[in-house]
Amino acid sequence: MAIFKDMTLSDVDGLDTPAGEADVSFEMDEETFRAFYDRTARPLWAYLARMTGDVHLADDLLQETYYRFLRSKATCESETHRRAYLFRIATNLVRDRRRRKRHMIVELPQAEDSAERPARGDVADLSARRTDLHRAMAKLRPRDRALLWLAYAQGHAHVEIAETLGVKPGSVKLLLFRARRRLAGLMRGAQKGNTRGMR
């Protein structure tokens, strides 16, 4: 009995690929990659978008992150380890980008956030709260921003955060506490400013 499987893009690509230009071998096969990508692409994009403050840059870095991940020879024991490794590549790419382009604007509200929408009540409150958050996050150090996002927005475990950011697992709790304190202070300041502005 013949077993059929869905043709993947690279299968189609391979049909007219001349000899010697066949698929470049990655550590991961395509089907495993597709499953892994489907599980991680959206959280990774969100992370990149919040770390860079630029959705277009997040698009570029997403592709670059997966490319470097596929090219790496690292062996990952578990899904968690693999995901942490992927996020670590992304973190390094964002860091490199920041070093290369010191004047990069970080975490400004994106177009859809900054657009004045005719919002009322809760929607307006939420929108204002998001804007306050973006502004406060922009004032944080990149590592603090990453810590808070990974821990509270994406719910990563402390061990995974440590692996992603290259810090000791035991110090994540303290670093997180300090980052949280800074962000809370900045947000309270912003809220006081908003209240004064409304008077």
């Binding site: 959206r42 994009w45 969100a46 592709q63 997966y66 996002w149 509270y152 927005a153 947000m187």
Partner: protein, 171 residues
């Protein structure tokens, strides 16, 4: 308990994650958060972060896995081709540097012979006077005294093409 830790943190996180905070959670937890700095910070930060995440999540548009795989394959092929050419380029650079070195050495070795030749045949029109002077000058270089200049020049000639290569081909 460590610095700034509170036993009720997890309760608050659970309430925030399950949208029970503040209206549908226990009165006791609300009272605690009002008096605990650590939990107050947590409440101040985590709610907006979760909300921002949910909002962002609804706007995410990522390319399909097939597209990302195909692009990675294409780029890997290009990178592989470039890497295959790298030794050739390095060899070319080293070859060019060696050629320049050999030429310089040849001129230096031939200088006494050429000046002697001109003395034997003063009417020899083929040898340019400037070139002859330059060769004579090269012949007077005291190798024992200036060896470090020659070594430095040779090293520079060898390393400069490599350095230029790595700078230009970096990413």
């Amino acid at each position: 308990m460590g610095c700034g830790e509170c036993l009720r943190e997890q309760d608050l996180l659970d309430a925030l994650a399950s949208n029970r905070w503040p209206a549908r959670c226990e009165e006791e937890l609300r009272r605690h958060v009002a008096t605990c700095d650590t939990c107050a910070d947590l409440e101040q930060v985590v709610g907006p972060l979760m909300d921002d995440h949910d909002h962002l999540w609804s706007t995410i548009r990522v390319p399909s896995s097939g597209t990302v795989w195909w692009r990675a394959q294409t780029r890997a092929r290009l990178d592989a081709a470039r890497e295959a050419l790298r030794p050739v380029t390095v060899a070319q650079a080293i070859g060019a540097a060696l050629a320049v070195l050999s030429l310089a050495a040849l001129i230096w070795m031939a200088a006494p012979w050429l000046s002697g030749l001109q003395q034997l045949m003063p009417d020899l029109p083929a040898v340019d006077i400037q070139t002859t002077r330059l060769m004579a000058l090269a012949g007077t270089i005291d190798l024992a005294r200036w060896w470090w200049v020659i070594v430095a020049a040779a090293t520079w000639l060898l390393l400069a093409p490599l350095a230029i290569y790595f700078v230009l081909f970096e990413d």
